[in-house]
């Protein structure tokens, strides 16, 4: 079974919010997950891992402490969502040839969608690299060089993002469906459920839209 990208984004947004992300962060986490899944990369599984690890953790502990290089977190471990959002906010730095470096960021693949949006903004492809892995994107297409098949790992790495002049010509286009990891999907569902207010007789009476009968 496949999922529509809108389903993936909606589930991810609610799940991110359910673990305490701000609405604005949750929106971007969801779009990042959608972006990865559209490239047949494990966005849902990685989002589930990150949300599980950082469930209820304060943003200030896992976000870059400052925007001066290299980026580090107060807790010692950077969240890829907080770091990715900051990366995209600072995309103009890439345009001027600066690198953005992060230390000890987990699930680094989740940084790539944010780098992709940065690439769209500066109208130039960007490269994200860590360990043996090199990924290039112009915002739309992606090229992944992953000799040891480690791109989906959650472990923490040092990562660099920089502008490149040309994309690898073997870059692939996004697809219109996602084949999500079922376990990750269920975890997101559990987190998403936290955003629903428990029903009470009062809320049923006060809050609902329509009447009950349609026999007229």
């Amino acid at each position: 079974m496949t999922h529509s990208l809108n389903e993936i984004e909606a589930q991810s947004r609610k799940a991110a919010r359910g673990t305490g992300l701000s609405w604005g962060m949750a929106e971007e986490a969801a779009k990042a997950t959608r972006w990865l899944e559209s490239h047949q990369l494990p966005g849902v599984r990685l989002l589930a891992e990150v949300l599980t690890r950082n469930d209820g953790v304060a943003h200030a502990d896992i976000a870059p402490q400052t925007l001066d290089a290299p980026w580090t977190a107060r807790s010692g471990v950077l969240c890829p969502l907080a770091s990715g959002a900051a990366l995209n906010d600072c995309a103009d730095r890439l345009a001027t040839g600066h690198h953005i470096e992060m230390e000890d960021v987990t699930s680094p693949l989740l940084i790539v969608p944010f780098a992709a949006w940065a690439a769209l903004h500066i109208c130039s492809p960007v490269r994200v690299q860590w360990r043996d892995i090199r990924i290039e994107t112009d915002g739309y297409r992606i090229w992944v060089n992953d000799p040891k098949a480690q791109v989906g790992l959650a472990s923490k790495v040092a990562l660099t993002c920089s502008r490149v002049s040309e994309m690898n010509e073997n870059a692939s286009l996004p697809e219109l469906r996602g084949r999500v990891c079922p376990t990750g999907w269920d975890i997101l569902g559990t987190f998403a459920h936290r955003t629903y207010a428990p029903d009470t007789p009062e809320s049923r009476r006060l809050g609902a839209g329509a009447g009950v009968s349609d026999n007229d």
Partner: protein
């Protein structure tokens, strides 16, 4: 076509502070840019053909049917499942679990296997699952009263009573039409590049258009089954009066807030159209005649508009009075000299209620398809990158944007209970948006981000302690809770109609205003609020059926024809 004379003056668009108020949005009327009319114009222009390859429904009204719309390039098929629903299961609520009919719009022509798969899923609606070959999923219930009346009459060889038809307006009403990837269907991106899908919600309104033909056929089939040789088909002029009803509750209200760029594009298209017509230097006799004719037909349409809701009754009373005043004014007014529509509109802005002003705004566009219709191509949201935050913007720049666009929100005391009495949340039971009482229910922890005014005011307060030159990226590292408001502010800076400039959580909020705005863009008429948060409407009432699309001047179908009424 003769080139138009250059305008000697150009009317500017109305300011967002004037347009984006709930009371005005809640008074919008359908117009040439409504999504149903965009679709019917295209279907007529491109000479779409229609077929019904399957109509396999038994004497109890159970079975399935397939209705195909053939565009110049491809085919879309409505797969309809007819059910025998016990009365106790019939519910208007989006959360119901059984319906009289259920539908999917299939991309192409479905095979037997596709239909078998859809039969296992579509009748379950939310509890089922569809695939990327389906573009929408929907369901409809009968208007029990009218359904029985029409079948009984037709079975007996007589036509139904037109008074009864006009009182209700439809034989079936939908309670949800899901598109854009819901329940596993194809995402909008999959079809967005097709010309017939370039305007918003074309797939959803095509589904309703085909549903209307199915409903007519089904009621005739049931009458024939009951009456045998005595039964007669529906007279075409009566069938034409019947649209498809729709019940819309709170689920639709957050849409306007959750899609700021899209809403901007809808409103901006209509406001551009209004400004263009106001800038017309001279109106031809034909243009004035078209306007006068449609004004008279609007008065008739409003006479037929029924509602039992006190707010709408009052609005309708005012609208009827003001349309008469408008009619008298137009009889005497000079529409043959310079900038006639601008003068008329300026008169209306001081003399008429909001309902009548917006009705006039829509009517003025009617003679000017050449100025208006191409704006339909600008109503979708193609700017997927708009959600990116510009972190290089300075605190001072952001504060200026906030003051320019959210000054109204900064004038509200958000600590006052009546100003934040409500909270939007999603209920655990049915996963639908609801509006609750913040101080009476335990819902604040579950609040959805649907109070942009309050949140912008809070953002503005938080920015006060930051240096004016600091980049927003640094502010957001420390204050991720304001990220969604910064995004909205930056969107509104480029898309001025993106934000409703009213309090969406106040004690006196009327969610039906938000529903009305969206539904008017769909092209709905006969708005009939059933409470402050639920409205019934009619879609495609008086519209041509598929086989009538090539008849001349089918574009003005929302306006009932004079002299045909209640005879």
């Amino acid at each position: 076509m003769k080139p138009r004379p250059e305008p000697s003056f150009t009317s500017s668009m109305r300011a967002p502070s004037q347009v984006m108020r709930l009371a005005r949005l809640g008074s919008f009327h359908q117009c040439r840019l409504s999504f149903m009319r965009i679709l019917t114009r295209r279907m007529a222009r491109e000479a779409w053909s229609f077929t019904r390859p399957i109509f396999d429904i038994d004497a109890k009204g159970v079975g399935h049917a397939v209705y195909c719309a053939h565009t110049p390039d491809r085919t879309y098929s409505l797969v309809a499942f007819a059910h025998d629903l016990p009365a106790e299961s019939r519910s208007d609520r989006v959360i119901a679990q059984a319906w009289d009919s259920t539908f999917a719009l299939f991309d192409g022509v479905p095979t037997k296997e596709d239909i078998a798969r859809l039969r296992r899923n579509v009748p379950l609606q939310e509890a089922g699952r569809v695939t990327e070959t389906e573009l929408s999923v929907s369901r409809a219930n009968r208007s029990v009263r009218l359904w029985e009346h029409v079948i009984a009459r037709l079975a007996d060889g007589r036509q139904p009573d037109l008074h009864e038809i006009l009182k209700v307006g439809y034989l079936m009403r939908t309670t949800a039409v899901y598109g854009s990837g819901k329940l596993g269907a194809a995402d909008r991106e999959a079809i967005a590049a097709r010309p017939e899908c370039s305007a918003p919600f074309q797939i959803e309104v095509l589904s309703v258009f085909l549903t209307r033909a199915y409903v007519r056929d089904l009621v005739q089939h049931m009458a024939k089954t009951r009456g045998g040789a005595r039964a007669v088909p529906l007279a075409p002029e009566i069938a034409r009066r019947m649209g498809i009803g729709n019940s819309t509750g709170l689920g639709m209200a957050p849409f306007l807030l959750n899609h700021p760029t899209l809403i901007n594009n809808w409103i901006a298209a209509r406001e551009t159209a209004i400004a263009r017509v106001r800038s017309v230097p001279l109106a031809s006799a034909d243009e004035v005649e078209t306007f006068r004719d449609l004004l008279a037909r609007t008065i008739l349409s409003v006479d037929l508009w029924r509602s039992d809701h006190p707010i709408q009754i009052e609005k309708l009373t005012d609208l009827r009075v003001d349309l008469q005043r408008l009619s008298h004014h137009v009889e005497a007014a000079d529409l043959n000299t310079e900038a006639p529509w601008n003068r008329l509109f300026m008169w209306a802005e001081t003399e008429l209620c909001l309902e009548a002003q917006e009705c006039l705004a829509s009517l003025m566009l009617e003679p000017y398809g050449d100025l208006v219709d191409s704006l339909a191509d600008e109503m979708s949201d193609l700017n997927a990158a708009a959600f990116r935050i510009d972190g290089t913007m300075s605190v001072a720049q952001l504060r200026e944007i906030l003051h320019r666009n959210y000054g109204w929100a900064m004038d509200i005391d958000w600590a006052e209970r009546e100003n934040c009495a409500r909270a939007w949340y999603v209920s655990e039971e049915k996963l639908e948006p609801r509006l609750g009482e913040r101080f009476d229910e335990h819902i604040a922890d579950y609040e959805q981000p649907l109070a942009p005014g309050r949140d912008a005011a809070a953002l503005n307060d938080a920015l006060k302690s930051w240096h004016v030159d600091a980049p927003i990226a640094a502010f957001l590292l420390a204050h991720p809770e304001h990220r969604h408001s910064v995004r909205r502010a930056q969107i509104v800076d480029h898309a001025p109609y993106a934000e409703i400039r009213d309090n969406t959580i106040s004690a006196d909020l009327l969610p039906i205003d938000m529903l009305r705005c969206k539904l008017a863009f769909f092209g709905a008429t006969q708005f009939d609020p059933r409470s402050d948060r639920w409205v019934r409407i009619c879609l495609f009432g008086n519209a041509p059926y598929p086989e009538n699309l090539q008849e001349s001047n089918c574009d003005d179908w929302p306006y009932p024809v004079l002299g045909e009424t209640l005879q």
